[in-house]
Assembly symmetry: C3
Homo-oligomer: 109 residues x 3
Amino acid sequence: MKLVMAVVQDKDSNRLQSALVKSGFKATKLASTGGFLKSGNTTFIIGVDDEKKNELLTVIKKNCQSRDQIITPVSPMGGSTDAYIPQPVEVEVGGATVFILEVAEFKQY
Amino acid sequence: MKLVMAVVQDKDSNRLQSALVKSGFKATKLASTGGFLKSGNTTFIIGVDDEKKNELLTVIKKNCQSRDQIITPVSPMGGSTDAYIPQPVEVEVGGATVFILEVAEFKQY
Amino acid sequence: MKLVMAVVQDKDSNRLQSALVKSGFKATKLASTGGFLKSGNTTFIIGVDDEKKNELLTVIKKNCQSRDQIITPVSPMGGSTDAYIPQPVEVEVGGATVFILEVAEFKQY
Ligand SMILES: Nc1ncnc2c1ncn2[C@@H]1O[C@@H]2COP(=O)(O)O[C@H]3[C@@H](O)[C@H](n4cnc5c(N)ncnc54)O[C@@H]3COP(=O)(O)O[C@H]2[C@H]1O
Ligand SMILES: Nc1ncnc2c1ncn2[C@@H]1O[C@@H]2COP(=O)(O)O[C@H]3[C@@H](O)[C@H](n4cnc5c(N)ncnc54)O[C@@H]3COP(=O)(O)O[C@H]2[C@H]1O
Ligand SMILES: Nc1ncnc2c1ncn2[C@@H]1O[C@@H]2COP(=O)(O)O[C@H]3[C@@H](O)[C@H](n4cnc5c(N)ncnc54)O[C@@H]3COP(=O)(O)O[C@H]2[C@H]1O
């Protein structure tokens, strides 16, 4: 069994959740925050049998899309701050960041 | 060392937390949501020495119980939607869903 | 690749987040609760290449500090409850509790 931890954008969270239910995958959702943009996103925890892992990754890929986000950095990403006029910067946020871990043991009570 | 991730019902969360403290297990709690019922539940993260893992699983088993939950699906789980009258459905929610992962390294600062 | 799960005090969370961005580490934050003190803390999830793991641990160590916290236990930690007058107790809360897990596979979509 594998434990799949997928960080996705809030905008795709409900769509992914319905797609998982429809394909018979069980999941748990955690509200999370991005380290860089500091905006809300969603972390899914999904335990999946090894032979179903690739099917699960396809469901995640199909239901999560990357988007450009305009941010205005409060202070320069690097360098001096004199007479700094914040310029908007475009950042591409990926659809899903996925970590796959090995499950040593699985129990349900 | 193992990292135990246990998804339990909110109703058992405080009872399990006190039982863990009483048995000397350290834990961290995360608020989470079930993928299917979309209702709140709790995910415990518990780092435990290998030789104490079975004792921990017994504490989880004893303090988390399964319950039946009546849900009224908004739309049919499958099939057509014409003149659909939602019928309540009974779903059994388990006491705890437990993933046990191998910890490669543990540090405390 | 390793997945680093670090439980830190809320007081250090923003400082650690900025230090991670500055050193080029990507991270996701989860709001969490301590099992013993029941007060809020923060769990960071950080995927990191094997050769950068030690540099990451140094950033965590430098930006998270241990603090003493005074608690007044509601009921005795053990023993009888007759004529119990709660006495404040000092508990040292560490700067960071860090679990390092092996990542079997990493994907970004
Ligand atoms: N130091 C930096 N300089 C310039 N641009 C930067 C940057 N750090 C991040 N970005 C950009 O900002 C996007 C949002 O990052 P954030 O940390 O808010 O939100 C992240 C974070 O919550 C999570 N994530 C990504 N990589 C991670 C990792 N290695 N460990 C833990 N979480 C990660 O996935 C979300 C989306 O990541 P994604 O890479 O698609 O998209 C990232 C990336 O394109
Ligand atoms: N492999 C896995 N990976 C990650 N998290 C997992 C998981 N298996 C279970 N969980 C977590 O544990 C909760 C209880 O699951 P359980 O299987 O006991 O109880 C489940 C199950 O009896 C039922 N159920 C779940 N998915 C179903 C489906 N596609 N069709 C019919 N019944 C379903 O509804 C109950 C509540 O499910 P819900 O998703 O709200 O809440 C789930 C979910 O948060
Ligand atoms: N093995 C593990 N698995 C999962 N999470 C873990 C863990 N070890 C520590 N943590 C997390 O790290 C926080 C700080 O732990 P620390 O051991 O530095 O600092 C602890 C410790 O010094 C003390 N403490 C914890 N349990 C105790 C107990 N049963 N008896 C006496 N003191 C305890 O209270 C402080 C705060 O504990 P709290 O539970 O509120 O918050 C904990 C918990 O959220």
